[in-house]
Symmetry: C2
Subunit: 305 residues, 2 copies
Amino acid sequence: MTMSRSNSGANRRLDLPDCFRRLSPYIEDSLDDWLPEEGDITRDLARSMRYSVFSGGKRVRPVLTLLASEVISGDFRPALPAACAVEFIHSYSLIHDDLPCMDDDDLRRGKPTNHRVFGEAMAVLAGDALQSLAFEVVSDDRAGYSARQVRDMLAGLARACGARGMVGGQARDIDGRSEDLDSLSRLHSMKTGALFRASLDLGAVTAGAVCEQRSLFRQYADGFGLAFQITDDILDVVGDPEKTGRYAGSDEEGDRRTYPALVGLDASRELASRAVESGMQALRGLHGETRELREILEFVLRREG
Amino acid sequence: MTMSRSNSGANRRLDLPDCFRRLSPYIEDSLDDWLPEEGDITRDLARSMRYSVFSGGKRVRPVLTLLASEVISGDFRPALPAACAVEFIHSYSLIHDDLPCMDDDDLRRGKPTNHRVFGEAMAVLAGDALQSLAFEVVSDDRAGYSARQVRDMLAGLARACGARGMVGGQARDIDGRSEDLDSLSRLHSMKTGALFRASLDLGAVTAGAVCEQRSLFRQYADGFGLAFQITDDILDVVGDPEKTGRYAGSDEEGDRRTYPALVGLDASRELASRAVESGMQALRGLHGETRELREILEFVLRREG
């Protein structure tokens, strides 16, 4: 039900703001550069890692990383290794989420999931190796970051991934209790929000952002993550299945862990608007060209699938 | 068949050199300090992580980390966070190794494996979170490392864990082909050797070791890892099942991936001796008190289980 679970990437791509088209080629090349090759490592492991990294993701997180860097320094290129790191973390989380013992999904973005192609053991290992690779890329000499940048980035990234972040959110989700609004926000803030925050923060750090700027990016990331989650939940209730790839109402049955189910549609829309406004406010505090970050935030509210 | 697969920790502890008794209390306390608490995070995730970290491991890797630091600076304490990091990586690898889709083990060190107690989903997540935690601990301000130390340690640790290290070795092992001596050495060098190397290297870096010293620790680690692996294989052939917890010969059936099966018992013993001698030679090059590292190396050859 979260962004990461959606199988409708192909439909959604049509709506994406222009910056995705501008930045994606650089991201794809850089991901390819950092991934180990067959021959370099065991063939199946190399294939399994590459299969999931190149399975049609929208690259939302790395795009956010690059834009944050560009806002601060006018240049996105130094942020490319950091952008790859967050995408490797995201890819690893999807591989493990799809496992039979987790969500048991056979398809993701219309293609067989990693374990359906490579087997469960290799899927576990590919996820494990992608997590390590994220940390390896940022700390590699070729990434060109100063020791201080590496420390700041890895501290943030490790926290965002771990028991107090993404994995902790997933564990809460599995826990499966009914939630009130506060704990639902907290679940999503950990499960998907933490990596959005890290995505922007890593970009900011690569560009030499100061404390106040990093804090504004955090505010933007929180608004972005919350709005995305709420509109995702809303689309499950009212969406056109041809656009969302899901049947409306599928989240409601016995599940009190969506915003519309907890507070109703109107209040959910209001919450999403407020989250977007908070993100916009953060952008106004940042000096620099923030148009594309604004467009991504607007896109979250107007998307139909 | 590797060290990490052995279920006979309890028997082996009796033989351990004194430094294990001296250093273990510090390691146990420090592991406890760095692990998230219930309440702090979801109860099941906290329990699952703690269960495997405190399941009777010998703490070989963190002891090596502390000793490396002590040899260089005379003080093991600054290396404690780094020692926890390598133990968290080791614990995560055991949890994932035991999963039904991997080795499908029900017992480890005489206790039910993580997934038998907490379920497969939580076992996958606990492993994932322990990997993140390793990187978090080293880069945390409370660990007290300089930015340069953090970068050096995380670069080494990430490489040791990933597709070119531990996970890559595991993937080769699953691949299951018959091996010649070179590729068997390479398999173990990746699967268990890389983390031994990182264990010593992290300790050396926390103590401010220079390049030449780090290179000598690498030589020691390689000798140690190889000798340990070969004697482990030998014990499977000739060992007393009451001491090893395994039945002699269990590795031989249809498996050409042990040293005795490949080159015979005598040549295996010769290889182990030479590996130990190479480790001893490295110690002679290090100035400082290396007696305990020597004892650990001698222990590898004379252990009976």
